[in-house]
C-alpha cells in the first residue's frame, strides 16, 4: 500500500517519524536499541547480516543498515535518535552521520553550522506553496490586536 500523504511530506529533505513509519520501522529501531548493550554490539560486528535476522526486517531495511544508508533508514521507519546508536557503534561522531545524510563533508557541515546553520530560505516547501514564513510575520502584530483576535477565534472554535 502506498504511503498516505501528509501536509508535512511537503517539507524538503525531511522524513517525519510518524505512526506509519514507526509501524514499519519497529525492527530497525529495536535493532538500534539492542546496540545499547556491549555484548550485542560485539555480536553485530562479528556478523552483521546474521545478527540482523533477529529483527524481522524487510530486505530493503537490511540493505539500508548494511550500507549505512542513513537517509534510507529514516525513510523506511528508522528514527534518528535510534539510528545514531548505530553510528556510535561504528565509532562515528554525529557529525559523520550529518555529513552522510546531507551529502556533505564533515568539515563543510561543521563550517555551515558555525556560519549560522542551513537557512530556511528555499528549504520550506517542495511544492513552493509555502515559501514565506508565517510565524515571523505574525509576531510583529501588536499584542492587543492579536489577543482580541485570539479571543474571538477561540470563542468560535471552542464554543
Amino acid at each position: 500500500m502506498a504511503r498516505e500523504q501528509h501536509d508535512y511530506d511537503d517539507i524538503p529533505g525531511t522524513f517525519v517519524f510518524d505512526q506509519e513509519r514507526s509501524r514499519q520501522g519497529f525492527g530497525i529501531n529495536m535493532f538500534c536499541m539492542s546496540l545499547m548493550k556491549d555484548e550485542n554490539r560485539k555480536a553485530f560486528k562479528a556478523n552483521e547480516a546474521e545478527y540482523l535476522k533477529k529483527f524481522n526486517l524487510t530486505p530493503a531495511q537490511t540493505d539500508a543498515i548494511l550500507k549505512r544508508d542513513y537517509n534510507r533508514m529514516l525513510e523506511l521507519g528508522g528514527n534518528i535518535y535510534f539510528t545514531a546508536k548505530l553510528g556510535a557503534t561504528d565509532g562515528h561522531s554525529f557529525r559523520h552521520l550529518a555529513a552522510v545524510m546531507t551529502g556533505s563533508t564533515q568539515e563543510d557541515y561543521a563550517n555551515m553550522m558555525l556560519a549560522g546553520g542551513r537557512s530556511v530560505e528555499g528549504n520550506r516547501s517542495k511544492s513552493g506553496k509555502y515559501n514565506k514564513p508565517v510565524a515571523a510575520k505574525a509576531a510583529k502584530k501588536p499584542a492587543k490586536k492579536a489577543k482580541a483576535k485570539a479571543r474571538a477565534k477561540s470563542r468560535s472554535k471552542r464554543g
Partner: protein
C-alpha cells in the same frame, strides 16, 4: 500553599553535557554558550526553589519504541542518570519529590489529563543538561526534581495547546498543595534544529526570536501554532519546543521577562534560554505574590543588564 515562583526554558543539547563532562567549557566555542548562563545560575542561587518540575523528552533511553507515553510524570523518589551508550553521565542522581508528584497526578488526571505515572525511570541528557546549565555541577542537586517526560520523538507529539493547558492544570495542582513550597518549572529542548535527513543543520533565528517574544507576551498565539509550522520553520526536531508551552501554561498570563539568552550553534542546535517571573504590578504589594527582597533586587539587576546589552 505551594506556588510557582518562576518559569525557565533552556535547550538540552547533548553536546553541552559532553562539553561539561569532558571539561571543555573554557574553550572559546563552548564559552560562548556557557557564559550566557552565568547570570542565570546567580538568579537561581537567589531564587532557591524547593522543587523543580522539569518538562523534557527522553531520547531512546528510558523509553524505546516499545512504549511511547505522551505525558509521563516521574513519581519516584529518585531517577538515576541513564547510560546513553557512553556510560551514565557523571552527574548526581536526581532526587524526586514523590509527595508533590503524587498530588499532581491525582489532580491533573481528574482535570482530564491522562498522565502515565512512572515509578521507575532513568533520565538522560534531556533532563540533566538543563540542570547543569542552571545549577552548575554540584555534588548533589540543590533541590528535588519532578520529571515530566513528553513524547516529541514519535509524531504527533501533543499539540501546543494541549501542552499549554496541561501547564494550567499543573499550576492548579501546585497551588492546592498544602505545604509552603517554592516551585520553578523548566521547559526544555529546542530551539530550531534538524538533525535528521538531507535538511539536517537547519537553523531559523528569526523564528526563534519571535518564539521567545511570544513566549513572554503572547503565549496564546504560540499555543495555536500547528505542528507543521514548527517542523517547516524550526526543523523536524524543533517541534520539541511545544514542551516550553507546558512551562508557560503553568505561569500567569502576564509575566516579567527577567533574562534571555540566545546563541547559534551548539553542535546542530540553536540555544535559547529565558527566565520568566509572575508579573509584579505597582499594586502587587500585599497580594501574596511579592517576592523575597533579595530575589527582587536580583531580578532588577538582571533586567537592567539585559536592557544594557540590547
Amino acid at each position: 500553599m505551594a506556588r510557582i515562583i518562576a518559569g525557565v526554558t533552556s535547550s538540552h543539547v547533548p553536546a553541552i553535557g559532553a562539553a561539561i563532562d569532558n571539561h571543555q567549557t573554557e574553550e572559546p566555542y563552548w564559552k560562548r554558550v556557557f557564559s550566557g548562563f552565568e547570570r542565570s545560575k546567580e538568579w537561581m542561587r537567589q531564587a532557591k526553589p524547593d522543587v523543580v518540575i522539569l518538562i523534557y523528552n527522553d531520547h531512546a533511553s528510558a523509553f524505546s519504541v516499545e512504549m511511547v507515553p505522551t505525558f509521563a510524570l516521574g513519581c519516584a523518589a529518585e531517577f538515576p542518570p541513564a547510560d546513553e551508550g557512553w556510560g551514565p553521565r557523571p552527574v548526581p542522581v536526581v532526587k524526586g519529590h514523590p509527595e508533590l508528584a503524587a498530588h499532581i497526578a491525582q489532580s491533573v488526571i481528574l482535570d482530564e489529563f491522562d498522565l502515565t505515572v512512572v515509578n521507575k525511570m532513568e533520565v538522560d541528557h534531556g533532563l540533566t543538561v538543563p540542570l547543569n546549565l542552571l545549577f552548575g555541577s554540584p555534588k548533589e542537586w540543590p533541590c528535588p526534581v519532578i520529571p515530566l517526560a513528553v513524547n516529541v520523538v514519535l509524531y504527533p507529539p501533543p499539540t501546543g495547546h494541549r501542552c499549554f493547558m496541561l501547564g494550567r492544570a499543573i499550576r492548579k495542582a501546585v497551588q492546592s498543595y498544602p505545604e509552603d513550597l517554592r516551585v520553578v518549572v523548566f521547559g526544555t529542548g529546542g530551539m530550531s534544529h534538524q538533525i535528521s535527513g538531507p535538511r539536517a543543520g537547519l537553523i531559523n533565528s528569526k523564528f526563534d526570536k519571535a518564539f521567545l517574544d511570544n513566549l513572554s507576551k503572547n503565549p496564546q498565539k504560540l499555543a495555536r501554532m500547528p505542528h507543521l509550522e514548527y517542523m517547516r520553520e524550526a526543523g523536524a526536531e524543533g517541534i520539541e519546543m511545544v514542551m516550553w508551552l507546558v512551562m508557560r501554561g503553568a505561569l500567569d498570563d502576564k509575566v516579567d521577562e527577567v533574562y534571555r539568552f540566545y546563541t547559534v550553534p551548539a553542535s546542530n542546535t540553536a540555544v535559547g534560554h529565558i527566565i520568566l517571573e509572575p508579573h509584579r504590578g505597582k499594586k502587587a504589594a500585599g497580594k501574596g505574590k511579592k517576592p523575597a527582597g533579595k530575589l527582587k533586587r536580583a531580578a532588577a539587576r538582571a533586567k537592567a543588564e539585559v536592557r544594557r546589552s540590547k
